[in-house]
């Protein structure tokens, strides 16, 4: 399009704005990311491999993936249910539910972690009961999973609620009028309508689940090879002046995040026809 629309700024202003945006992204985003990879590979590929296959690193990677594998599906289920309830039904405590969903966004991650220490710690409300039964939550994997679920649970719901609100109820009503059951309506109509939003929510939740530091740090106990997730392991390595290894693991974490983004782009590209057909 070469014709100027009335809203458009002059050419110089336009390029200036684009330039500023790119410069900003380069400075804030690409430079640190590039540094991570540069530092990670400065010692050569062999050093990098050694750092990410060393036993504490391996267990940190495993733990991180395990935590994400539990937290993300649970939050997908919760996010779908909450978005469905909020956008397709009317009930009394809707504003309250909406506020609660936002809670983890407004609470500091450290506080999110402390909540679980207060509940399940040895001095906490359920501490002695759990201890008597030999159930470990805090300073063990369950605590890390709980804290991760807490900090990631708004992502899917928050992504879906505006989308489903915008889409309204008429597609679902059409399906119902055509004889579909509630489940059929959800599966054949609602889910396809929201799949890109859902996928995006899943990716965001997954990225945060793998990258969460604050809340997990509080409940982890920092036991090497056992309750250190990748971000915590990176901190440990960094604090041991083992910078090459710290950056190696950090670069792996960054790669995991990039992989999810690439996956999303591939899916969008493969289904661009279907997306265009949606008309929005």
């Amino acid at each position: 399009m070469s014709r100027r629309s009335p809203l458009q700024e002059s050419k110089a202003v336009k390029w200036l704005l684009i330039g500023v945006a790119f410069l900003y992204i380069a400075l804030i985003l690409l430079l640190p990311l590039g540094t991570v990879f540069y530092e990670a590979l400065r010692g050569g590929v062999a050093t990098w491999m050694e750092a990410v296959t060393e036993s504490n690193a391996r267990s940190a990677i495993t733990l991180t993936l395990l935590v994400a594998a539990i937290a993300v599906p649970l939050n997908v289920a919760f996010g779908l249910a909450a978005a469905w309830a909020i956008t397709k039904h009317d009930f009394r405590f809707k504003p309250l539910l909406l506020t609660l969903i936002d809670l983890p966004f407004s609470v500091s991650p450290v506080v999110s972690g402390l909540i679980y220490v207060l509940l399940f710690g040895a001095q906490g409300w359920f501490g002695s009961t759990l201890q008597d039964r030999g159930i470990e939550i805090i300073f063990a994997v369950p605590g890390i999973v709980l804290a991760t679920i807490f900090v990631t649970f708004p992502f899917v719901a928050r992504e879906l609620i505006p989308l489903m609100t915008e889409q309204g109820k008429s597609d679902e009503e059409a399906a119902l009028s055509l004889g579909a059951s509630g489940w059929q309506t959800f599966w054949h109509v609602t889910l396809p309508n929201i799949r890109w939003g859902l996928l995006y929510g899943v990716l965001l939740a997954n990225a945060r689940a793998m990258g969460e530091f604050g809340a997990v740090s509080v409940v982890s106990g920092h036991i090497r090879g056992e309750t250190n997730t990748m971000p915590l392991h990176i901190e440990v390595l960094y604090n041991e002046y083992n910078f090459a290894a710290a950056f190696a693991v950090a670069s792996l974490l960054a790669v995991l995040a990039l992989v999810t983004l690439v996956l999303k782009s591939i899916l969008e590209w493969r289904h661009r026809g279907a997306i265009a057909a949606r008309g929005h």
Binding site: S170, E173, A174, V189, A277, G279
Partner: protein
């Protein structure tokens, strides 16, 4: 089959949408629900469809009380103002939706479903459009697809909510004529909601004029024009 609406009332949080409405529609009739916005006409249609439920009153299809039946169980076809086509499905799959979701026992064979789709596409004059997606159609074409989809399961009633509201005048007239032809061809009891009295009078056998949740008059167009039942009717159809 006839439809009987008996003393139906419905409130939305504060204001009453319907205040004790009764109506009887005979088999094969084409009825328009006419009124200004907020008169309760769409609410009445949705209650007949089972998409909303009344606070009090009864809906009967023939002799059967269907007041508490959900929409899926009422055997109706519903056409929405903004079409509500499934964007991720082709035209053919949209039309076949009501058949595709039937349980295996009740579902017709694949070929039968495809034949039914072709038949309906022909009925709404969209032959050859089966593989397109809704986004690739004009507004008028989309509404025809929505009509075909609503008819796929041979509903007992056809309910249309402002079916031409989103279309321009020319397309509107074409589609109006097509709808009347289709109604006469299959003889389906049909109700449509409109705020346009010319449209109502041009299409319907009988017109129910609603105002503030009540029916002011329910009669054939000629009678309404000759003997308006209230000052409201007089001014509304003027």
């Amino acid at each position: 089959m006839s439809i009987r609406v008996e003393e139906v009332s419905k409130r939305f949080s504060t204001y009453p949408a319907l205040a004790g409405v009764s109506l009887e529609i005979v088999d094969g009739e084409f009825v328009a629900l006419l009124g200004p916005s907020g008169s309760g006409k769409t609410t009445l249609l949705r209650i007949i469809a089972g998409l909303d439920f009344p606070d009090s009153g009864v809906i009967r299809f023939g002799d059967r009380d269907v007041t508490d039946d959900p929409a899926a169980k009422r055997g109706i076809g519903f056409v929405f103002q903004h079409y509500a086509l499934f964007g991720h499905m082709s035209v053919a799959r949209n039309i076949a939706f009501g058949l595709d979701i039937l349980p295996r026992r009740a579902r017709p064979a694949r070929a039968e479903i495809e034949a039914r789709v072709d038949e309906l596409l022909k009925l709404v004059q969209l032959e050859g459009y089966g593989e397109r997606y809704p986004a690739q159609l004009s507004g008028g074409q989309r509404q025809r697809v929505a009509l075909a989809r609503a008819l796929a399961r041979n509903p007992r009633f056809l309910l249309l909510d402002e079916p031409f509201g989103a279309l321009d005048t020319k397309v509107r007239r074409e589609l109006r004529d097509a709808l009347r032809i289709i109604h006469d061809e299959i003889g389906l009891t049909s109700i449509f909601v409109t705020h346009d009295h010319e449209e109502a009078f041009a299409l319907a056998d009988r017109v129910a004029i609603l105002n503030a949740g009540r029916i002011e008059q329910f009669a054939a167009p000629a009678e309404i024009l000759e003997r308006p039942a209230s000052p409201f009717v007089t001014s509304f159809v003027a």
